[in-house]
Subunit: 359 residues, 2 copies
């Protein structure tokens, strides 16, 4: 087992990574203070892992809350189902919520914990690669709104993050690839060596080779923890983690939540950001080729859907949370391994990218 | 104009109290950083004060969001209307929300600010006595759930609180009395001299005598600010501010939100808490008589509704946020001017109070 610490003063917490962590009750119960716990999961994950987690919690009178699986349920209505279940079971302010599932479950459970009785503790047990390398670490929680993704939420940190790499054995191929998109992102924005390592090890990652998977998760969480420790509330450096996300959110919103997986949309978004960076003279043709090649190798899409016009994409991008006073801010690449947030791109370059990078 | 400061380190803020503050644009605009503002109010307050506030904000491209008036709209559905309006108008992360109205508007706007794009600044302009002396100060925000009042929310502090005592001129008598309930509370829990001052000045307060009203608001905010500075997140002393609230919330929930005003329910709740305190030997018969007399003089109810049985009241009280592991915690009075949180009351005494203090 490997352990990282996310350093946030009083709100610091450990991230444990390893195979079989869900058999170790100590790791989980060490972070539960009150007498009650509620495990929030979905109907795909529940048959696979819920019993194992409940067994670890048998002294804590665990309540189970099972939501339907899917991004389209990540909204205020289903958040309210969590509140109804907690209130119906008389869960008090000392109740610890446990998020068992992917990014949707983690974001919703974290936000429910932030709001339930104005804040109860919570623990992340991410079961998808995407959640393990990105959304479970750093305290961004929330739900979607029909007019924009993740528009309603809170910065709210968990008590700990438990990443059992064994859970990846049951992950569908498509979701594994979606998670790899965020792994590639860390290489692109902060670590060209890690990018090169991924070029060498992509087959092993796709084959779920245990040591390669663990290393990829560890490196990703290390990068994420460093960035979040520096800028918890995204007033600066943390925004760099959104490489590809403004393009990606536009695709997700435009297609309807859940049609494209988040990681798929981010993958295409990163290719689009690279293309715009090339048009601005930051990246070489060869850099863009390496990026697109690695993302393709990860079995991820590299072009926006034909169904969305460049105009529609631009309109959807303007409601992004990073937009200020109507101006779109984008994360672009100054070099492979170095990102920047900027609004200093020309309209013509953005239009060219939006047109050229469609199916 | 009088100014208090709520001391919370980086989250400190001023509370300005005086007649005609809403004519002073400087006080308001000094706390607006971004280019956009959105004023959230209701359809009772909008015709009275919205134009005046929008005039102060003409450089800030103000958006108005007008909700229907009433506690029954203090829920996730109407919170979502605020989000829809903000997103529809492309309000970004630098938008300042302004709560113009009573406690419902303040709680909802504050919670919307806490959650919109994971947090934007907000300003409180309370227009009811209840909001001016209690809910606008201290950062408790939230909405109700069918299973309990204020169950969903956040601790989220405003940038400032602007209390224009002129707004009380249009306040209905019933709501003035409801606000006085919270004023009386500060005397009961922390300041027997203030309680005695209220016994002398209740007629003046009900007659809306300007200097008496200002003094009552100032003393109330001073007490509130001291308690919140000591215990922002209610892990200790702040809970004392909930005198009468566990009984009161049970009445409000049991009758359906909005049938009893919050202040009316708290008034009866304080009489019930005093009665239980007397049964435990804390208060004298004379103390209870003074409390009930002052609350009656403020034209407030002193008995729970006949419609709710003692059993129903107890059931509703057990979902209170202060309950831990199923045990009801209550704020009781050790003396007039001194409160305590305790679960050490007998079931028999609680039952006796619940039966005796019904209509």
């Amino acid at each position: 087992m490997k352990t990282l610490n996310l350093d946030l003063g009083l709100r610091s917490y450990p991230i444990h990574i390893g195979a079989g962590i869900l058999q170790n009750s100590e790791l989980l119960t060490a972070h539960i203070k009150g007498s009650r716990v509620a495990v929030v999961t979905n109907d795909t994950i529940a048959p696979l892992y819920l019993d194992a987690v409940l067994r670890l919690l048998n002294k804590h009178n665990p309540l189970s809350i099972i939501l339907p699986d899917g991004e389209k349920y990540k909204n205020l209505e289903y958040l309210n189902h969590i509140f109804s279940d907690l209130l119906g079971a008389r869960c008090d302010r000392q109740t610890t919520l446990i998020a068992l599932g992917g990014g949707v479950i983690g974001d919703m459970t974290g936000f429910a914990a932030a709001c339930y009785m104005r804040g109860v503790p919570f623990i992340q047990i991410p079961t998808t690669l995407l959640a393990q390398v990105d959304s479970s670490v750093g305290g961004k929680t929330g739900v979607n709104h029909p007019l924009g993704k993740n528009m309603i939420g809170a910065f709210y940190q968990p008590q700990c993050v438990l990443i059992d790499t064994n859970t990846l054995k049951t992950l569908p191929d498509r979701e594994l690839s979606a998670g790899i998109a965020e792994v590639v992102k860390y290489g692109l924005i902060r670590d060209s060596d890690f990018f090169a390592w991924l070029e060498t090890n992509m087959e092993g990652l796709l084959a779920r080779d245990s040591s390669i998977v663990t290393e990829a998760i560890y490196q990703s969480c290390k990068h994420k923890a460093e960035v979040v420790a520096e800028d918890e509330r995204e007033t600066g450096a943390r925004a760099l983690l959104n490489l590809g996300h403004t393009f990606g959110h536009a695709i997700e919103t435009g297609m309807g939540y859940g049609v494209w997986l988040h990681g798929e949309a981010v993958a295409t978004g990163m290719v689009m950001a690279a293309d715009l960076s090339r048009r601005m003279g930051f990246l070489s043709d060869n850099d863009c080729w390496r990026i697109e090649t690695l993302i393709k190798k990860a079995r991820l899409p590299v072009r926006a859907p034909k169904k969305l016009s460049g105009m529609q994409m631009r309109e959807l991008m303007s409601v992004d949370k990073k937009a200020t006073a109507g101006k779109i801010n984008l994360v672009l690449l100054e070099a492979l391994g170095k990102a920047v947030v900027t609004s200093k791109f020309s309209d013509a370059d953005l239009s060219a990218t939006l047109e050229a990078m469609r199916e």
